[in-house]
């Protein structure tokens, strides 16, 4: 068993840059969303396809990022 079709892409959610790392392990697709700077994992998702795994991670990431406030 290994991670296959490992792909990294970047997008913007709620005004913040997000990096999505997605891959398949066995029959399950996984996606990790991190906040680029500093690179902390903010949400993960999994599903039967890359699309479903990414959607799950994006949903969690957007919910968390929308609560981040700039102070000045």
């Amino acid at each position: 068993m290994k991670a296959e079709q490992y792909t990294v892409e970047e997008t913007v959610l709620a005004g913040w840059p997000v990096r999505l790392s997605s891959y398949r392990i066995g029959a399950t697709w996984h996606c990790k969303a991190d906040n680029v700077s500093p690179g902390a994992t903010i949400a993960t998702g999994k599903g039967a396809s890359r699309v479903r795994a990414k959607l799950a991670a994006l949903k969690g990431a957007e919910a968390r990022l929308s609560r981040t406030r700039k102070r000045n």
Binding site: M1, K2, A3, E4, Y6, W16, S21, Y23, I25, T28, H30, K32, D34, N35, S37, P38, G39, A40, T41, I42, A43, T44, K46, A61, R64, L65, R67, T68, R69, K70, R71, N72
Partner: protein, 281 residues
């Protein structure tokens, strides 16, 4: 390894693949939780959760000596075991475990260069088996205070100008624009940084694949901010895990003396009443 002061603290993913089944070696994946470990991990690796296994879960502190010994023993680690640590986020939490193992005097600890991300991206073998190692026997040393900065140490160093402070958080955290990394809970009352600190984000020590930059590149990175190893260095971040990563770079890869990790970090300093704070770049 490319010119590091200590070359016996890093192993490659190739090396781990060849040796992960060898006797006398314990591979450990360390993350904020064991969620990533559960997806699949280096064959034979045990998993540690930073949140529940590498911190005192009642008071804010590193593990007690007794708890540390129990964790090592239950992980099949004896005093003479070679331990290879790796994890997500380019080894943030693995570096914390490395730091804590050195605090308690473990002799032979390595980081897998590039961490979990590199292992996955290279398509190396994964396992979901959870090893049940035979309990080892472990006797920790008393904690080595020379590796750790506590609040009183940092306050004294700031007042006396006796140490260089390296804030390894993102520029937006350093300036006070945000109180926590985007998407994470705010854990402090005030934003900004400790007066006099240099902002050298942890990730600047890494290449694109998450491996550490060469010694020459690292030396230049820190020298550009005036950090040359001529004075003691205190690394800090928000909760002490990113600064463990930079502590590792400064102490082991560059070989600076007197490098400490201020694990109280901004969640301590940024909540103090009356502490001096600087804002902006």
């Amino acid at each position: 390894m490319p010119g590091y002061a200590n070359e016996d603290v890093l192993v490659t993913t190739e090396w781990v693949e060849r040796h992960c089944g060898d006797g006398g070696i314990r591979i450990v994946e360390v993350d904020v939780s064991t969620g990533a470990y559960d997806e699949g991990h280096v064959p034979g690796a045990v998993g540690w959760s930073w949140s529940s296994q590498l911190c005192d879960t009642v008071r804010r502190d590193i593990l007690s000596k007794d708890a540390f010994e129990a964790l090592m023993a239950s992980s099949g680690i004896s005093n003479d075991t070679t331990v290879v640590l790796y994890g997500d986020n380019h080894n943030w939490f693995a570096a914390w475990a490395f730091w804590q193992m050195k605090v308690y005097g473990h002799g032979d600890v390595w980081l897998m260069n590039g961490g979990r991300t590199k292992w996955l991206a290279e398509g190396r073998e994964l396992s979901t088996d959870r090893p049940a190692p035979q309990a080892g026997s472990y006797q920790a040393s008393d904690p080595d205070g020379s590796l750790r900065a506590l609040l009183a140490d940092v306050r004294a160093a700031v007042e006396a100008g006796a140490a260089e402070l390296v804030d390894v958080r993102s520029p937006a955290e350093f300036t006070g624009e945000i109180l926590a990394p985007p998407g994470l809970p705010e854990t402090c009352q005030r934003g900004g940084h400790i007066p006099g600190a240099s902002n050298i984000p942890w990730g600047e020590a890494c290449a694109a694949d998450g491996t550490f930059k060469s010694a020459e590149e690292l030396r230049e990175l820190y020298a550009n901010a005036g950090i040359t190893g001529t004075k003691p260095v205190v690394a800090y971040c928000r909760i002490g895990e990113r600064s463990s990563h930079s502590w590792f770079v400064l102490k082991y890869l560059l070989g600076f003396d007197g490098v400490t990790n201020y694990d109280g970090s901004w969640t301590e300093w940024g909540n103090l009443v009356g502490a001096p704070v600087e804002r902006g770049a």
